[in-house]
């Protein structure tokens, strides 16, 4: 009887919480899991760039610039974590309020943020997490009734665009489907305005990124493509490989196809150019670069089956649709090495809660359940898109998530789980909205 009363009291207290209190509760839980922000080598490089005000375009320079400002207020990753968490949760709240009461919207937003595959990436200071945060906030803003907020939403989406090379694939469906200069505008006029907006946005993003970056880094799928094509082609002699790569400076003399197959199996794209197993030497002049580019394009043209087989394999692994292990489903390191900690003068350790949730719960979920396998969300997203989707918000979300995921097909990236984060987030959010709509229509 007593315990029933207590549980009823607790239930009443929880039920009586204001939307802001519920959101604060969710945000506190997020911060407790992630505090003061997990980082990888990418994050550390960006922080160093931010501190030295020397941005490269190897990572998004806009994010480094943002970090430069925040690092001058509080040193380290904390403010970046708070920013991405607040944008994400605030955006989700605003988005879900179009479909739910404020209190319920706050609970559902908390559930989405704290959903392990979403939380695991949102806790890390990565461009992927920042992009998701700006996307969610941007989507919520472009749905607002006030035009200035909608235009602000475009700015947020433009920032999201600047955070990954392929973010355009996530942003375009959102802008095309959701953005309206004036509600009720005719389709042709609306599309014309959207076209102008898209061109201006992409132009602005490129200009800002180029303006900020003082060091240019050539990022190209070329090297991994060449290695992948050689690996996936029928057996080739060293002479045939050399013949296919005229003017390309190779780092090894013999066993070229074996080496290519080894590198593909190792699944670390950067090993193709760096380390003792590398396949190529870095080109020293433009002539070598153009020779490599020509060889790459010729290889693709000559071996389209190998190209699609290689990319299909990489993409399946990115989706976690093979039997292989997932790459980095849960990232909960503060830095990757003590040297990095010393370099950025930032070191932290796990609290008991972080240890239990991160290592015991999330790692177990990743190893023993399919919860972190992106293909599940791709399938759910496709099914929802085909069978349930009847409104433009969920359609935009699903198109954005699935389109973004598809944009990885031509890029032979390392199959990190974080690359699927936006698809997982958008599918989970769309599923929550669709579930609410169905439940309401039935009740």
């Amino acid at each position: 009887m007593g315990s029933w009363r207590i549980s009823r009291r607790v239930g009443d207290a929880i039920g009586g919480l204001s939307p802001n209190a519920i959101a604060a509760f969710g945000f506190a839980a997020f911060v407790l899991y992630a505090y003061p922000g997990f980082m990888s080598t990418d994050s550390v490089n960006q922080l160093l760039e931010a501190r030295h005000i020397a941005f490269s375009d190897g990572n998004p320079p806009l994010m480094s610039a943002e970090w430069m400002v925040l690092d001058r207020i509080i040193s380290g990753p904390l403010l970046m974590l708070l920013l991405q968490g607040a944008l994400f949760l605030g955006g989700l709240n605003a988005l879900l309020r179009h479909f739910l009461s404020p209190a319920r919207a706050a609970w559902v937003a908390n559930a989405i943020l704290l959903f392990p595959p979403v939380l695991a990436t949102m806790a890390v200071i990565w461009k992927d997490a920042q992009m998701a945060a700006y996307l969610v906030a941007g989507i919520a803003a472009v749905l607002d009734r006030r035009r200035r907020v909608r235009v602000g939403g475009l700015v947020l989406l433009a920032v999201a665009c600047a955070l990954r090379h392929n973010a355009v694939a996530a942003v375009l469906p959102v802008v095309i489907i959701l953005f309206e200069w004036n509600p009720g505008m005719r389709l042709r006029r609306r599309l014309a305005i959207v076209g102008v907006v898209v061109v201006l946005t992409i132009g602005a993003v490129l200009a800002v990124s180029r303006g900020l970056a003082t060091t240019h880094v050539r990022i190209t799928p070329m090297w991994n493509d060449i290695v992948g094509l050689i690996a996936y082609e029928d057996d080739l002699t060293d002479a045939e490989v050399r013949e296919a790569l005229p003017g390309v400076h190779l780092a090894i003399d013999h066993g070229l196809q074996v080496q290519a197959r080894l590198l593909v199996a190792m699944r670390h794209g950067w090993l193709v150019m760096i380390g003792p197993e590398r396949f190529f030497e870095v080109p020293e002049n433009e002539a070598e670069w153009s020779a490599a580019t020509s060889a790459w394009l010729a290889l693709i043209k000559a071996h389209p089956a190998a190209y699609f087989a290689y990319h299909g394999d990489v993409f399946l692994h990115l989706l976690g649709a093979d039997d292989d292990y997932l790459t980095g489903p849960v990232w909960n390191l503060f830095t990757e090495s003590p040297q990095q900690a010393t370099a950025i003068a930032h070191a932290a350790s796990w609290s008991w809660l972080q240890h239990v949730v991160g290592f015991d719960v999330f790692y177990w979920l990743a190893d023993h359940t399919p919860l972190f396998r992106p293909w599940i969300y791709a399938v759910i997203g496709l099914l929802l898109l085909i069978t349930c989707c009847r409104d433009r918000v969920t359609f935009a979300l699903l198109a954005s998530g699935l389109g973004y995921q598809l944009s990885y097909f031509p890029i032979p990236v390392e199959p990190d789980c974080r690359y699927s984060h936006w698809m997982i987030t958008s599918v989970v959010t769309a599923a929550a909205i669709l579930f609410v709509q169905r439940w309401r229509s039935r009740s």
Partner: protein, 439 residues
């Protein structure tokens, strides 16, 4: 602005200055103890226990920083709210937290700043009318006593004045606080080394020998019998004169007093100190007075500001705690650094103010202010016998905070009768006006 907004903004600005917290001298050891759950008696175990509870949710010193700053801010606000309107109380509580001499101490993760915060919060809780809050207040005093025993002395006037149960019951409640606090401090230790007691004993021996008249070597030999001495008794007093008051020189260097002191010598050294103190009480008192004057800032070598997040002797990367100052922090730190070289960071200034204000408060019957000032003075006096060998600015934080709170209370207490008089006269004037107009 609403009072809550004022407090939150004030707290955030404090965090901009202090985040993620400056490790005090023993805090690195405490952080390791908190993580491993194996508590040594090198530092106050009550603080390590609080840290371990905080570590369940957030690792590192920031959780302690959040706790001690929020306790101080909330406690000061609640205390002032009993005398002033909410918004003024909020502004004044923030002003106290931002006061350079307070912000510099509250930013340091050490037992004394935590004790000051617990004392403020405990006093506020004890002033509440609900019994549950009074119990919370006593519990906070237990925790404060676990941080430093001087806090137990500081708690006495507050419990006597604010518990509201009569003198005898208040004394009994205070005695319970003392017993529970000391008991917990004993029980919570896993690895008992007596290191702090040993360090104090060696400091007392060196100090007493330093201030004592020349003693015959056979008397010194008798008094220090069993101690692992580094020199014959005849040389010991000369060595004490050279080494005192630098604790590092008692066991190392050419003028060291002791050879390696291991676990079996601890009780011997402590017993020798007790014999020496009984034999030379005046010298011992002069030594303790010297310690106290050092605590009060009457010393040339006074570096009150801790500016490094991790002590120099600690490898931050190995401790998994490293941080650097942001531009904002450097800007906020600059004026505090400058002020730290002024009298504002000398505890004797606050001692003098507390004495003057205390007398004023007693004469003018500002009871709450008088109690707080008495508590601050009692705490500072207790440091004469509880302070260690290395005086720190933040040791005196409770005196500073009590002084500021007392000053605010006295100031507004003096203003109140004038306001009342103005109010009465205005009412009389309005009544006259009505009479004239109706007549």
């Amino acid at each position: 602005m609403k009072p809550r907004t004022i407090l939150i903004v004030g707290w955030v600005v404090f965090l901009l200055y202090a985040y993620p917290g400056y490790l005090g001298p023993g805090a690195a050891d405490q952080l390791i103890d908190a993580r491993t759950g194996q508590f040594t008696d090198w530092n106050p175990v009550m603080m390590t226990e609080v840290w371990r509870l905080g570590w369940r949710f957030i690792d590192g010193p920031s959780v302690m920083l959040f706790l001690q700053s929020s306790l101080l801010l909330a406690g000061a606000y609640q205390l002032l709210r009993q005398l002033l309107v909410e918004r003024t109380s909020a502004y004044l509580a923030v002003a106290i937290l931002w006061f350079p001499a307070v912000i510099a101490s509250t930013a340091v993760i050490a037992p004394e700043p935590m004790a000051a915060s617990l004392l403020v919060a405990g006093t506020a809780a004890l002033c509440a009318t609900a019994r549950a809050w009074k119990v919370v207040g006593l519990a906070l005093f237990v925790a404060a006593g676990g941080m430093t025993t001087a806090a137990l002395v500081a708690a006495l006037p507050i419990v006597l004045a604010f518990l509201g149960l009569g003198v005898l019951r208040a004394v009994a409640a205070w005695a319970t606080v003392v017993i529970v606090s000391l008991g917990l401090a004993y029980v919570l230790v896993d690895d008992r080394t007596e290191r702090p007691a040993l360090e104090r004993a060696m400091h007392d021996i060196a100090g007493t020998l330093h201030f004592a008249p020349p003693l015959p070597s056979d008397q010194i030999a008798t008094l220090l019998d069993g101690c692992p001495l580094a020199a014959p008794p005849s040389e010991l007093q000369q060595r004490a004169n050279r080494a005192y008051p630098k604790p590092g020189r008692y066991i190392a260097g050419a003028s060291r007093l002791f050879e390696h002191v291991d676990a079996e010598h601890v009780n011997t050294v402590i017993a020798a100190r007790d014999r020496l103190v009984r034999a030379q009480p005046r010298a011992y008192l002069r030594h303790r007075l010297h310690v106290w004057t050092s605590e009060l800032g009457f010393t040339k070598h006074w570096h009150p500001l801790i500016e490094s997040f991790v002590p120099a002797r600690v490898d931050g990367a190995q401790l998994s705690y490293l941080s650097s100052h942001s531009l904002t922090q450097r800007v906020l730190l600059a004026p505090v650094r400058w002020l730290s070289r002024t009298a504002l960071f000398r505890p004797h200034l606050y001692l003098a103010i507390a004495v003057i204000l205390g007398i004023w408060a007693v004469v003018r019957r500002h009871r709450d202010a008088a109690v707080l000032l008495a508590s601050g003075l009692a705490y500072e006096l207790a440091l004469m016998f509880t302070a260690g060998a290395t005086p720190q600015w933040f040791d005196s934080e409770w005196l500073v905070v009590a002084c500021l709170l007392g000053a605010v209370m006295v100031f507004f207490g003096e203003l109140e009768p004038r306001h009342e008089r103005i109010g009465e006269q205005a009412a009389l004037g309005a009544a006259d006006h009505d009479r004239v107009s109706h007549g």
